[in-house]
Symmetry: C3
Subunit: 321 residues, 3 copies
């Protein structure tokens, strides 16, 4: 019996739950498919029929207008019917279990669930539970994973740097609490990036992170030296005045990306951020709006990447002409 | 002058407000039409053009993500444009009257209103008020009616039991506060079910319910004896610790559907529940997930039934090939 | 360099931010285009392909279900994909700046933003900021402007009175706090209405309003004498018990539109109101529901006018056959 959570017995993607466990070929297939969808967004009619008549449920147990919107646009540009469910405000409060909610929506002949949940593992749980025709995309679960974010980051890196096998990439900030960072590290190492660094204060770097194949730096200028890609992480508001951090200003002083610090990277290094940005906390406006920033391109590529994931899951990934 | 609230002068359905007052032929027409839509959900492209260019307004004065979603899917699979209005959060708070809100939306050339309201009679009030081209579907009003739920229940019963004229059906639980139970009783008796029973504690059974043609049981094993269909009702959370009930555990002991109690029904009896379920309160998980449970099929059939109601109201009920 | 906020170098509308600054020809073009869309709403299939494959973002920083719904319907009848973003509940609370939010959504290849904001000037700010392919419609900003409301009012007036150049129009109520009144005054004077009057208590009339070309009346019967059009303004709930007004009852006595007061206008005068109405505060039900009221027609015309604005901005304004 096939027990891979994300791939079927023929190795085809059936759910996208985490980057961990996916072979390089699957990641590459997503990036290649996304390239064809990137063209769609430039057409006068930004729509293709790949998911026509399919029902995509945005199942958000944790509010995130921005992430929900990117999936909604992606699904609509694929001609799917999109249903937005903010579940915290409904069945869960009526005492129904998570799996009963999922069973119910499945019984409405859902084709795809895009799941956001505060608990790590929620998307896996749902994926194990649903019937064979239903596909699950993890849109962020607790501190665990946010695979489409990592994929759009890889797309962005490949777009600007063309190859992965010669790069130095630094991920900066609150790695400890970041599902984005975890997914990025897995994606970068899977795609063959030879040097992945994480930079942050000791309190925000997981103890055993080296086991993932990364180098740890606490001194930012040192960590940024000669890197090709700088990925900034968002500092969650709730951390800013917590026990793990001295203060917002201190944080900016040591780990905020300023032009000064960026000067230690390669001159053609690109700067990335998953958004929404805290200007003046983890990133200086001069950098965020500077020539090395590719932060808005990430958003654009994110739509194409989500269209690619959805169409591959639906078995409609034929490349566009 | 025609004064029937739901049928026009030629006997055609113009609004669906309650099962009460509808002739058997109308119910049968809805069930037959739903059968053709059940096929649609199994197609690769789950969409038909029946309501293309029509505007369906989900007018929810009371929040219900689940019910709203079923109507939204049904309307979208009929190719309608769907507008979701959570009205408690808008005009009503600005002091506008219910009928002014309805007039306004009607003036936007609405074709159909799906109305959910905490007050009994709200859908009737709206139906009397709107112009001739606009159709109203009651999606639950106070303790009064929830006709599409009853229709999907009838569809489910017919699907599994083929005929109505030889059945014993038991409805179990809080009949007093249940709009679902009221609509089910009317549907069952209209369709010729010879024996309809209601089972529950004295405090949760309406005093004069026998006048609707049902038999009352307070002892559940006795009430379930030899029935073909068991319909469980949801126990509202707010009742659980109220004056009408001793306690949640006591309730489960006497009126929760366990395998033991279900053994009194016919061996081929089906178990139904409108959802969301309170496992361990009105129903045991072993029954909910057991072979006699058709609870999830109810949800699936519910989409087809709502598509049928909408297409009949819109005058587009021709059967599919 | 072209610095007109709303027109491009060839005089074509690129954003709709306020009536102020638009030439009469632009207003007339919108009204003429709306006339063709008014027919669409009467068809069996109320849909045209003008905005197919376009993404319209309803960007509401201030909740307004009604206004959002009118734009959503208009966009859907033009076949656009519509994304609803209630932004107060999302990014803004995460500390992101307004322009970062806009940049992000722009990067998702938005084609049009419909913006509602509590701050005057928000839509202008966004319009100055977005790239050349993106169009902004102001759906109400602070006390400043609400141009589509004014345009639908002009459409209504032209529909019933055919010409503007012989009319007396009175605007009654809280002119001081009303973005609608400001936009109406600009539209009426731009379209050549020879006499525009404002009527209200001294506390609710802006001091220098005569500079806009209007006559001020504090005595309502006198102000209504021989007018062709009476436009009532909504009295905001929060004003009703404030320092600027004696009481709700007093207000109604002096400035509520009753049949008595309306008798001072021309016998064929029409009565308008932007909604939602406060019956018994600024308008008597006998007038609101009376033969001179065109309040619901305003709503219907509003959809056509919004379709016109959107299709003109998208460069797809060819008249329908």
């Amino acid at each position: 019996m096939n027990s891979h959570p994300q791939l079927d017995e023929r190795g085809k993607l059936k759910h996208l739950l985490s980057i961990e466990g996916l072979p390089p070929a699957t990641l590459i297939e997503i990036l290649d498919t996304a390239r064809s969808f990137e063209q769609v967004a430039r057409q006068d009619i930004k729509k293709v029929p790949h998911l026509q008549g399919k029902s995509v449920f945005n199942l958000f147990f944790e509010a995130s207008t921005r992430t929900r919107t990117t999936f909604e646009i992606a699904a609509k540009r694929l001609s799917a019917d999109v249903l937005n469910l903010n579940v915290s405000a409904s069945s869960q409060s009526k005492g129904e279990t998570l799996l009963d909610t999922v069973d119910n929506l499945s019984a409405m002949q859902a084709d795809m669930f895009v799941v956001r949940h505060a608990e790590s593992g929620a998307a896996h749980l749902i994926a194990r539970h649903v019937g064979p025709g239903i596909h699950v995309i993890n849109a962020g679960d607790g501190r665990h994973a946010h695979p489409t974010q990592a994929l759009l980051d890889m797309y962005t890196i490949r777009h600007f740097k063309h190859r992965f096998d010669h790069l130095r990439v630094a991920i900066v900030g609150d790695v400890l609490h970041s599902r984005v960072a975890r997914s990025q590290i897995h994606a970068l190492t899977t795609l063959g990036v030879p040097e992945v660094r994480v930079i942050g204060p000791q309190t925000l770097i997981p103890r055993d992170v080296e086991r993932l194949g990364v180098r740890v730096f606490h001194h930012m200028p040192q960590g940024l030296r000669d890197v090709d890609v700088v990925i900034m992480l968002r500092l969650q508001n709730e951390r800013m005045n917590g026990a793990l951090l001295p203060s917002r200003d201190e944080y900016f002083k040591f780990y905020g990306l300023t032009p000064d610090k960026l000067a230690h990277a390669r001159p053609d290094a690109i700067v990335m951020h998953p958004g929404p940005m805290n200007r003046g906390v983890e990133i200086d406006s001069e950098v965020a709006d500077g020539v090395q920033s590719v932060i808005l391109q990430q958003v654009t590529f994110g739509i194409a990447v989500r269209m690619a994931v959805m169409s591959i899951l639906a078995g409609k990934q034929e490349r566009l002409p």
